[in-house]
Amino acid sequence: MRIFSFNEPLNFMRFKMPALMLSIVLLLSSFGLLFTKGINWGLDFTGGTVIEVGYTQNADLTQVRAILAERGYADAVVQYFGSSQDVAIRIAPREGVEQSRISNEIMAALSETSATPIEMRRIEFVGPSVGDELKEQGGLAMLTALIGILLYVGMRFEWRLSLGAVLALGHDVIITLGLFSLLQLEFDLTVLAAILALIGYSINDTIVVFDRIRESFRKLRDSTPEETVNDAVTSTLNRTVVTSLTTIIVLVVLFYMGGALIHNFATALLFGIAIGTYSSIFVASGIAVQLGLNRDDMLPPPPPEKEGEGTEPLM
């Protein structure tokens, strides 16, 4: 079975400009969102306390809020978490009290006032200094990953391709962040991990296409760069789609079955991989072509240690 079977390369590069325009619009709106609405930073980065409490029956949020307000936690954010028997209470970092004790107080207050026994499911407390550090470390990790990839790709590919790959990568990350800003989804450490995994996946996808572009340049001697890129993208299209499909399938499974704690992780990857697939087809190669990629740049320096490349047909 095959999804696509083409006799001739599809003309992907015809959509190069519209795709780049679309990407620019998406990028600009993502930036707009990030600057206006910002990111809904999770507890890991803001500091504060989250307490998840399990009730044996449906919990009454108004009542929980009232109890908390009585104890001086009027600013607490009280929400259902996963089901209507689970309540997540989030309290912003506050000054002047021993913060690690807030959860003790709240658990005590809630179990005193509840007719049925309640269960402590989860407590997370992050001190403000730790939050700032995690933010710093997270930013650093993202930067290190991008620079590391830039170096690697720069070593392996011609500069136009490298630049295209890294720009496409930044594109995927920024638009995914834009989505998180738009939907105001909570951005915590697991989402950061997802974004980093996305960086890995998205560059992976791009490299597969680029490897083929390089190969096609050598094979198709009389073609224009656009035709060559079209040929490469078309011949890897099946692989791109199949791999994205299997990855998206497992992410959908994770999204629906992984539980509330994994929800945003799965969301980031699902969306990011869709965007990443699009960008490795249109954006990465589009930019490279736009930058003036041509056959002369690809030859002579033969890419180092490419296995199998030197093998002559045996027949």
Binding site: F125, Y152, L189, T243, A266, G308, T311
Partner: protein
């Protein structure tokens, strides 16, 4: 002939798979709910105690699976978590909580032959086991301040001894120095050489005023103080953790001034926090019986004395000289005296014994006050947003010295048994020179941990099933081969996770496995697509297989190195659960290359290699 492999390659791949399979096997055996019973203070559990307990369990209707002694530690396994909880109560009733610590645990049921070759189940992170994770910060400023303050007294004594006259010696903790005001240039010189001779780690600079001297500590000494404060806290926290009764606690240094504490299976984080968070020390001071308490209350303190209060607000006039500090305490326990009143028995180290002995020689019949000092976070905040710790001093007892005190003595007159017990616990754990504070907490309740495991397992299973079905539909027989690789990949991941000592499975780690399942087929997709293309271009089947694998490999290596790079970065900066994700992702990438490139190639060659094949079933 093309596409044939030597036998040894098959053997290597089969060997690696078998190895992983064997090491993955312990994960199939469910864990037993169990009790760990340890004797406190370095004691061992005796065989007689073991028998007593076993009978105790049986007579209460809880039949243990086994009750064994190992390294002086008792391990009782049970059929169910219910039995385990009941047995815990029975054990506490029988043995008490003073001499024994009873901890709930889950122990693997790995068969002997597997355990014999070092195969153990995967370590589960706290988000899957349930438990508490604390990150504690040591207040280094307090440690250094204490040193500066101690220097003042020492300098005065040293200068007197060296017959150097001084106007004043005072601490300036904000600037981390001691200020000396002397009377002449010669005295400055003399003080410098006298103090410098005694301690080479002091740094002297001339003060702004005439004949003044500023003394700071060398970088070396400051580092030592910080190291010591951290080490001491780690030791104390280890002791306290043992008091809480946790089966496999982790207390680990992180960076220059932090300590990670992980307590798997702790049911009551609030209590754990109380025990870990409290910092207490004792100072013993003589009561100033001559001084005028009334005048002191009006603000006219007699020289050499200070005003202290007890809990009820009763004032005490105590000498400033400290007879003994809590750091010399080696042990403390609560018991009842001959009048059935609660008391705390205290043992000291040799130096402490000498100090107290000397201090009490001339003081028999006088009263000695025990000052309990606690650090509590106050209203003010430091620059980094953490509250400033406030020193609270409270006289908890003032008892007449009946005899010259030595290395062991007792404090009586403590309000109630609970207070005596609490005090003994804190004292036993030692005395801190630098207080700590919890700056991060992650607690997962036991039921949520199990839920997370179930969710993760379901996600892995369904993800796997859907991908397997898809691959068979899409690539038919070759899909089956890719599926074999995928299953082998899962076995390899679990096997390696179980083998690597530091690898911990977490919820994001399970998500990482799911993701790997989806991404691992990529290598096979690349190869199969390539083979199809080669065939379409008119190559022979054998050529197509050969070229397909060879050409795809360069791309596979290229594209996976970047993901591996990302996984390494994640591992480097991530904490806890995220690290777990990085580990499974990295292992998954490596194993998937192995299974889908090396493994499937062998299979493909085995079935179709070196033969006349008209077409491939894909």
């Amino acid at each position: 002939m093309l596409n044939q492999n030597p036998l040894w390659r098959y053997l290597v791949v089969i060997g690696v798979l078998l190895l992983a399979l064997v090491y993955a096997m312990p994960n199939l055996y469910p864990e037993d709910p169990a009790l760990n019973i340890n004797a406190t203070r370095g004691g061992v559990v005796l065989e007689s105690t073991r028998q007593q307990l076993e009978q105790g369990f049986i007579s209460e209707g809880v039949t243990p699976k086994s009750v064994t002694l190992e390294n002086g530690q008792l391990l009782a396994r049970f059929q169910s978590a219910e039995d385990q909880l009941r047995a815990r109560q029975i054990a506490i009733n029988l043995l008490g909580t003073v001499n024994y610590v009873t901890a709930l645990n889950l122990v693997p049921t790995t068969p002997d032959w597997l355990a014999g070759i070092g195969a153990t189940p995967m370590k589960l992170g706290l988000d899957l086991r349930g438990g508490v994770h604390f990150l504690m910060a040591v207040d280094m400023k307090a440690a250094i301040d204490k040193n500066i303050n101690d220097m003042v007294g020492a300098f005065r004594a040293d200068l007197r001894e060296a017959k150097v006259r001084y106007r004043s010696v005072s601490a300036d903790v904000d600037r981390g120095m001691v200020q000396l005001q002397l009377r002449s240039a010669e005295d400055v010189q003399a003080a410098r050489s006298a103090l410098g001779k005694l301690d080479r780690e002091l740094v002297f600079t001339d003060g702004p005023a005439e004949f003044s001297l500023q003394v700071t500590l060398s970088e070396n000494r400051l580092r030592e103080i910080r190291e010591y404060a951290l080490e001491q806290n780690i030791t104390i926290i280890r002791n306290r953790v043992n008091e809480i009764g946790v089966a496999e606690p982790l207390v680990q240094r992180q960076g220059a001034d932090r300590i990670i504490v992980q307590l798997p299976g702790v049911q009551d984080p609030a209590q754990a926090k109380e025990i870990l968070g409290a910092t207490a020390t004792l100072e013993f001071r003589l009561v100033d019986e001559q001084g005028d308490l009334g005048a002191a209350l009006n603000g006219r303190l007699p020289p050499g004395s200070g005003l202290y209060y007890d809990r009820s607000g009763q004032p005490f006039l105590l000498e400033n000289r400290v007879m003994l500090t809590g750091e010399h305490i080696t042990n403390a326990s609560s018991s009842y005296d001959e009048y059935s009143q609660p008391q705390v028995n205290i043992s000291l180290d040799a130096q402490g014994g000498n100090l107290l002995s000397n201090a009490t020689r001339e003081a028999i019949g006088r009263r000695m006050a025990t000052v309990f000092i606690e650090y509590k976070p106050g209203e003010q905040l430091q620059a980094d947003g953490t509250p400033v710790l406030i020193k609270q001093e409270e006289v908890i007892n003032a008892a007449t010295i009946q005899a010259r005190l030595g290395r062991s003595f007792r404090i009586t007159g403590i309000g109630n048994p609970a207070e005596a017990q609490n005090l003994a616990l804190l004292l036993r754990a030692g005395a801190l020179i630098a207080p700590t504070q919890i700056i991060e907490e992650r607690t997962i309740g036991p039921s949520l941990g199990q839920e997370n495991i179930d969710l993760g397992m379901t996600a892995i299973m369904w993800g796997m099933v859907v991908v397997l079905i898809f691959m068979v539909i899409y690539y038919r027989v070759f899909g089956l081969i890719a599926n074999l690789a995928l299953v082998a990949n899962l076995v390899l991941i679990i096997g390696f996770m179980s083998m690597i000592p530091g690898a911990t499975l977490t919820l994001p780690g399970m998500a990482g496995i799911v993701l790997t399942v989806g991404m691992a087929v990529d290598a096979n997709v690349l190869i199969f697509e390539r083979i199809r293309e080669e065939i379409a271009e008119g190559r022979s089947i054998q050529q197509a297989i050969h070229q397909g694998y060879d050409r795809a490999f360069a791309t596979i290596a290229d594209s996976n190195i970047t993901t591996l790079l990302v996984a390494l970065i994640l591992f480097g900066i991530g904490t806890g659960p995220v690290k777990g994700f990085a580990i499974t992702l990295a292992i998954g990438i490596l194993t998937s290359i192995f299974t889908s490139v090396v493994g499937t190639r062998l299979l493909v060659n085995l079935f179709w290699g070196g033969r006349r094949v008209q077409s491939l079933p894909m």
